[in-house]
Amino acid sequence: MASFPEIGADWYFVLSVVLFGIGLYGILTQKSGIRILMCVELLLNAANINFVAFGSMYAQDQGFAYALFIIAIAAAEAAVGLAIFVNLFRVRHTIELDQIQTLRW
Protein backbone atom coordinates (compact mmCIF):
# COMPACT_ATOMS: atom_id res chain seq x y z
CA MET A 1 0.00 0.00 0.00
CA ALA A 2 1.45 3.32 -1.06
CA SER A 3 2.33 5.65 1.75
CA PHE A 4 1.41 9.25 1.38
CA PRO A 5 4.00 11.90 2.21
CA GLU A 6 3.35 13.76 5.41
CA ILE A 7 1.81 17.17 4.95
CA GLY A 8 3.73 19.79 6.87
CA ALA A 9 2.07 22.41 9.01
CA ASP A 10 2.97 25.11 6.51
CA TRP A 11 0.48 23.82 4.00
CA TYR A 12 -2.29 24.04 6.55
CA PHE A 13 -1.45 27.70 6.95
CA VAL A 14 -1.57 28.13 3.20
CA LEU A 15 -5.00 26.54 3.13
CA SER A 16 -6.08 28.83 5.93
CA VAL A 17 -4.85 31.93 4.13
CA VAL A 18 -6.57 30.90 0.91
CA LEU A 19 -9.85 30.27 2.74
CA PHE A 20 -9.54 33.57 4.54
CA GLY A 21 -8.87 35.38 1.26
CA ILE A 22 -11.89 33.83 -0.40
CA GLY A 23 -14.08 34.77 2.55
CA LEU A 24 -12.77 38.32 2.69
CA TYR A 25 -13.24 38.75 -1.04
CA GLY A 26 -16.81 37.52 -0.78
CA ILE A 27 -17.68 39.75 2.14
CA LEU A 28 -16.33 42.82 0.40
CA THR A 29 -17.86 42.17 -2.99
CA GLN A 30 -21.11 40.32 -2.58
CA LYS A 31 -24.52 41.84 -2.01
CA SER A 32 -26.54 38.77 -1.17
CA GLY A 33 -26.89 38.16 2.53
CA ILE A 34 -26.66 34.41 2.15
CA ARG A 35 -23.39 34.69 0.26
CA ILE A 36 -21.97 37.02 2.88
CA LEU A 37 -23.03 34.60 5.60
CA MET A 38 -21.27 31.80 3.76
CA CYS A 39 -18.15 33.94 3.48
CA VAL A 40 -18.22 34.65 7.21
CA GLU A 41 -18.31 30.90 7.73
CA LEU A 42 -15.25 30.62 5.50
CA LEU A 43 -13.43 33.13 7.70
CA LEU A 44 -14.33 31.17 10.81
CA ASN A 45 -13.18 27.94 9.20
CA ALA A 46 -9.89 29.56 8.25
CA ALA A 47 -9.39 30.51 11.89
CA ASN A 48 -10.34 26.98 12.86
CA ILE A 49 -7.71 25.44 10.60
CA ASN A 50 -5.11 27.75 12.11
CA PHE A 51 -6.09 26.75 15.64
CA VAL A 52 -5.89 23.07 14.83
CA ALA A 53 -2.65 23.39 12.87
CA PHE A 54 -0.89 25.36 15.59
CA GLY A 55 -2.28 23.09 18.29
CA SER A 56 -1.05 20.08 16.41
CA MET A 57 2.31 21.65 15.66
CA TYR A 58 3.05 22.53 19.26
CA ALA A 59 1.21 19.51 20.73
CA GLN A 60 -1.15 21.80 22.63
CA ASP A 61 -4.68 20.59 23.20
CA GLN A 62 -6.06 24.08 23.65
CA GLY A 63 -6.05 24.54 19.89
CA PHE A 64 -8.48 21.67 19.39
CA ALA A 65 -10.67 22.88 22.23
CA TYR A 66 -10.87 26.39 20.78
CA ALA A 67 -11.75 24.89 17.39
CA LEU A 68 -14.72 23.12 18.98
CA PHE A 69 -15.84 26.40 20.50
CA ILE A 70 -15.60 28.17 17.17
CA ILE A 71 -17.65 25.46 15.47
CA ALA A 72 -20.41 25.91 18.05
CA ILE A 73 -20.35 29.69 17.72
CA ALA A 74 -20.49 29.41 13.92
CA ALA A 75 -23.53 27.16 14.22
CA ALA A 76 -25.31 29.67 16.44
CA GLU A 77 -24.42 32.52 14.12
CA ALA A 78 -25.66 30.63 11.07
CA ALA A 79 -28.94 29.73 12.77
CA VAL A 80 -29.73 33.29 13.79
CA GLY A 81 -28.46 34.74 10.51
CA LEU A 82 -30.57 32.44 8.38
CA ALA A 83 -33.65 33.14 10.50
CA ILE A 84 -33.07 36.88 10.05
CA PHE A 85 -32.70 36.50 6.30
CA VAL A 86 -35.88 34.42 6.07
CA ASN A 87 -37.75 37.18 7.87
CA LEU A 88 -36.06 39.82 5.76
CA PHE A 89 -37.16 38.11 2.58
CA ARG A 90 -40.71 37.86 3.84
CA VAL A 91 -40.83 41.59 4.47
CA ARG A 92 -38.68 43.08 1.74
CA HIS A 93 -38.69 40.32 -0.87
CA THR A 94 -34.95 40.69 -1.15
CA ILE A 95 -31.89 39.80 0.85
CA GLU A 96 -29.53 42.11 -0.98
CA LEU A 97 -27.94 44.00 1.83
CA ASP A 98 -27.39 47.12 -0.28
CA GLN A 99 -31.14 47.61 -0.36
CA ILE A 100 -31.59 47.24 3.37
CA GLN A 101 -30.82 50.67 4.71
CA THR A 102 -32.74 50.64 7.95
CA LEU A 103 -32.86 48.15 10.76
CA ARG A 104 -36.47 49.01 11.54
CA TRP A 105 -39.00 47.00 9.58
Binding site: V17, G21, Y25, M57, V80, A83, V86, R90, Q101
Partner: protein, 144 residues
Amino acid sequence: VSPDETSSATAPAAAEPETSQYAEEVPTTLSKDERRAKRWEETKTDFKWATALLFVLVLGLSAVAPLADGPFRRATTYEEDLPGMTQVIFSPEGLVVPFEILSVLLLAALIAGIALGSRDVGREPEDSAWRDRSAEANAPEGEA
Protein backbone atom coordinates in the same frame (compact mmCIF):
# COMPACT_ATOMS: atom_id res chain seq x y z
CA VAL B 1 -59.08 12.61 -38.61
CA SER B 2 -57.40 10.88 -35.82
CA PRO B 3 -58.80 11.10 -32.31
CA ASP B 4 -55.68 12.91 -31.25
CA GLU B 5 -56.23 15.68 -33.80
CA THR B 6 -59.88 16.03 -32.83
CA SER B 7 -59.10 16.34 -29.21
CA SER B 8 -56.38 18.86 -29.89
CA ALA B 9 -58.66 20.93 -32.14
CA THR B 10 -61.47 21.10 -29.62
CA ALA B 11 -59.29 21.48 -26.60
CA PRO B 12 -59.05 24.96 -25.19
CA ALA B 13 -55.88 26.86 -25.68
CA ALA B 14 -53.16 25.68 -23.43
CA ALA B 15 -53.25 27.58 -20.21
CA GLU B 16 -50.33 29.87 -19.72
CA PRO B 17 -47.97 28.67 -17.07
CA GLU B 18 -48.45 30.36 -13.78
CA THR B 19 -45.89 33.00 -13.17
CA SER B 20 -45.15 34.38 -9.79
CA GLN B 21 -44.53 38.01 -9.13
CA TYR B 22 -40.84 37.22 -9.00
CA ALA B 23 -40.77 35.41 -12.32
CA GLU B 24 -39.10 38.31 -14.08
CA GLU B 25 -36.65 38.91 -11.31
CA VAL B 26 -35.49 35.34 -11.02
CA PRO B 27 -35.54 33.61 -14.40
CA THR B 28 -35.11 29.91 -14.04
CA THR B 29 -33.50 29.17 -17.38
CA LEU B 30 -30.30 31.05 -17.89
CA SER B 31 -27.42 30.09 -20.03
CA LYS B 32 -24.00 29.70 -18.54
CA ASP B 33 -22.83 33.05 -19.88
CA GLU B 34 -25.97 34.78 -18.62
CA ARG B 35 -25.50 33.30 -15.18
CA ARG B 36 -21.91 34.46 -15.16
CA ALA B 37 -22.90 37.96 -16.27
CA LYS B 38 -25.65 38.08 -13.64
CA ARG B 39 -23.23 37.01 -10.95
CA TRP B 40 -20.77 39.66 -12.06
CA GLU B 41 -23.52 42.30 -11.98
CA GLU B 42 -24.39 41.27 -8.45
CA THR B 43 -20.86 42.01 -7.35
CA LYS B 44 -20.23 45.38 -5.82
CA THR B 45 -18.41 47.50 -8.30
CA ASP B 46 -16.77 49.68 -5.66
CA PHE B 47 -14.60 46.89 -4.33
CA LYS B 48 -14.49 44.60 -7.30
CA TRP B 49 -11.03 45.33 -8.62
CA ALA B 50 -9.43 46.26 -5.32
CA THR B 51 -10.49 43.04 -3.68
CA ALA B 52 -9.59 41.00 -6.74
CA LEU B 53 -6.09 42.47 -6.52
CA LEU B 54 -5.98 41.75 -2.80
CA PHE B 55 -7.13 38.20 -3.46
CA VAL B 56 -4.40 37.64 -6.05
CA LEU B 57 -1.81 39.07 -3.67
CA VAL B 58 -2.94 36.81 -0.85
CA LEU B 59 -2.90 33.79 -3.11
CA GLY B 60 0.54 34.68 -4.39
CA LEU B 61 1.93 35.19 -0.91
CA SER B 62 0.42 31.96 0.32
CA ALA B 63 2.00 30.10 -2.58
CA VAL B 64 5.42 31.61 -1.94
CA ALA B 65 5.40 31.44 1.86
CA PRO B 66 5.93 27.66 2.19
CA LEU B 67 9.01 27.90 0.02
CA ALA B 68 10.74 30.29 2.39
CA ASP B 69 12.74 29.05 5.34
CA GLY B 70 11.03 29.62 8.64
CA PRO B 71 9.72 27.94 11.74
CA PHE B 72 6.77 26.46 9.86
CA ARG B 73 8.86 24.95 7.12
CA ARG B 74 7.98 21.26 7.12
CA ALA B 75 6.88 21.48 10.73
CA THR B 76 5.69 18.14 11.96
CA THR B 77 2.23 17.71 13.33
CA TYR B 78 1.13 15.49 16.17
CA GLU B 79 -1.84 13.25 16.64
CA GLU B 80 -4.63 14.77 18.67
CA ASP B 81 -4.76 13.70 22.27
CA LEU B 82 -8.40 13.14 23.18
CA PRO B 83 -7.91 12.61 26.94
CA GLY B 84 -5.77 15.73 27.02
CA MET B 85 -8.45 17.68 25.18
CA THR B 86 -11.15 16.59 27.59
CA GLN B 87 -8.86 17.61 30.42
CA VAL B 88 -8.52 21.06 28.86
CA ILE B 89 -12.25 21.52 28.41
CA PHE B 90 -13.77 19.89 31.46
CA SER B 91 -11.30 20.54 34.22
CA PRO B 92 -12.28 23.33 36.65
CA GLU B 93 -9.11 25.25 35.87
CA GLY B 94 -9.71 24.75 32.15
CA LEU B 95 -12.48 25.87 29.84
CA VAL B 96 -15.48 24.46 31.64
CA VAL B 97 -16.99 27.88 32.36
CA PRO B 98 -16.76 29.03 28.71
CA PHE B 99 -18.15 25.64 27.77
CA GLU B 100 -21.22 26.23 29.91
CA ILE B 101 -21.59 29.78 28.63
CA LEU B 102 -21.45 28.38 25.11
CA SER B 103 -24.28 26.01 25.90
CA VAL B 104 -26.39 28.99 27.00
CA LEU B 105 -25.43 30.81 23.80
CA LEU B 106 -26.52 27.85 21.68
CA LEU B 107 -29.80 27.67 23.58
CA ALA B 108 -30.35 31.39 23.02
CA ALA B 109 -29.61 30.97 19.31
CA LEU B 110 -32.08 28.09 19.14
CA ILE B 111 -34.82 30.12 20.80
CA ALA B 112 -34.01 33.16 18.68
CA GLY B 113 -34.16 31.12 15.50
CA ILE B 114 -37.54 29.67 16.42
CA ALA B 115 -38.88 33.06 17.50
CA LEU B 116 -37.72 34.78 14.33
CA GLY B 117 -38.97 31.97 12.14
CA SER B 118 -42.41 31.90 13.71
CA ARG B 119 -42.98 35.64 13.59
CA ASP B 120 -45.89 36.61 11.40
CA VAL B 121 -44.26 39.66 9.94
CA GLY B 122 -44.42 40.28 6.25
CA ARG B 123 -47.31 38.00 5.48
CA GLU B 124 -49.29 40.95 4.16
CA PRO B 125 -46.73 43.69 4.01
CA GLU B 126 -48.79 45.89 1.70
CA ASP B 127 -51.46 46.32 4.37
CA SER B 128 -49.10 47.27 7.13
CA ALA B 129 -48.49 50.86 8.06
CA TRP B 130 -44.98 50.11 9.17
CA ARG B 131 -44.30 48.65 5.75
CA ASP B 132 -45.12 52.00 4.16
CA ARG B 133 -42.98 53.85 6.64
CA SER B 134 -40.15 51.47 5.99
CA ALA B 135 -40.51 51.86 2.23
CA GLU B 136 -40.38 55.62 2.60
CA ALA B 137 -37.34 55.39 4.79
CA ASN B 138 -35.56 53.15 2.30
CA ALA B 139 -36.57 54.99 -0.84
CA PRO B 140 -33.76 56.70 -2.74
CA GLU B 141 -33.41 60.40 -2.21
CA GLY B 142 -35.90 62.44 -4.19
CA GLU B 143 -38.46 59.66 -4.43
CA ALA B 144 -39.58 59.62 -0.82
